[in-house]
Amino acid sequence: MEPTKYAALIPGLIRSACIGVHRRLPLFGGAGSARNRLAASVAGACLLHAALSTAAEPQRKIPPSALRSGITFASADVRALQADDFENPGMLWVERGAKRWNDAGGAAKSCRDCHGDAVARMKGVATRYPAFDAASGRVLTLDARINACRTRHQSLDPLPLESDDLLALSAYVAKQSRGMPVEVTIDERTMPSFERARALYYRRIGQFNLSCAHCHEANWGKRIYAETVSQGHGNGYPAYRLEWQAFGSLERRLRACYSGVRAEMPDYGSAELAELQLFLSWRGRGLPVEAPGVRR
């Protein structure tokens, strides 16, 4: 990875390294002692170490060589359903999205009038979402970005989140990136969101007192009753889920995880869910976009 991209990460890591040193300071005893000078040099060494070791990128707990898409944990019939572009039920939403793309729906302009042919012009777009949106000053998912387009450029009401029409549009856009690696941008603008989501990922929540990492980093590949625990990547979404008998976004799937650990579910469209998706995309960076995926 190019060092410039992660240069912005270094201050944050240095800060956390320094917090660690400051907390240890009292252990070094009285004022003006040689121990304080030792502490200072330890802090300096930490800074240097942090700068050197993270010039490349922050460490991912699952290394790129061990990343596995959710579909690899699925049974052969589910894999076959996803692989067949006709049988894959998600393709119904893609088809519906293609119609919506060309249809202005009461507005002066359709998606196509600004963006052109989606097959060419939307290629690779979904790999970059969630992304920072300068106008609203927050991280937006692809669905939220489509709704922002509707209100800003089409003077239409936003489509209800999880509605078939919005899912169809995001499925259609995401499908144009199929096979391309997920590649979100972590820079100074997305860093605060990224850090909040990372903290959330490792925080215990709910009555079961579990963090995301307890299942998806410490125990992936093992079973919870009949289910194999996946690594928890979002590269297949929006996806058709057999359990739902419907097409849904990654937000819906994440809410199901909150419910699974008996925690309070954040609302659809909340900043928390968008930021969490940003962190998940970074965590699974390099996996191919599979939308429309099929999951159990």
């Binding site: 006709f86 039920p89 119904l92 088809e95 058709y240 008998q245 419907a246």
Partner: protein, 106 residues
């Protein structure tokens, strides 16, 4: 209701070919209850008919046991170029239709 139909681009006269159709539909079973405890009325596509060149080639009667967004597949014999016309109706009375042209070559 979005529907997709798939047939081969062209078929030899007299050959058996595969027809596939997928329809977006919730196929509500009638056995479920909403969050208020009220039963959700049954609403499934109960009949689907396919006409090939005007004559009925395939008919299916579907029920509660069919999953949402039903997918059907059948085979028929290529007699002459013409349209495959699908039409279906659900318990709520909503009708859908979709057609595709079959090109038969010698």
């Amino acid at each position: 209701m979005t529907a997709r139909i798939q047939v081969p681009r062209e078929v030899q006269r007299g050959a058996v070919f595969e027809v596939r159709i997928a329809i977006q539909h919730p196929m509500e079973t009638g056995f479920r209850y909403d969050l208020m405890g009220k039963p959700i009325p049954k609403n499934v596509i109960n009949t689907l008919v396919c006409r090939y060149g005007g004559a009925e080639a395939f008919r299916a009667e579907l029920g509660s046991g069919i999953a949402a967004n039903p997918y059907l597949q059948f085979y028929t014999v290529a007699e002459a170029s013409g349209d495959l016309e699908f039409s279906w109706v659900d318990d709520a009375g909503e009708r859908g239709s979709e057609r595709v042209t079959v090109n038969v070559v010698e």
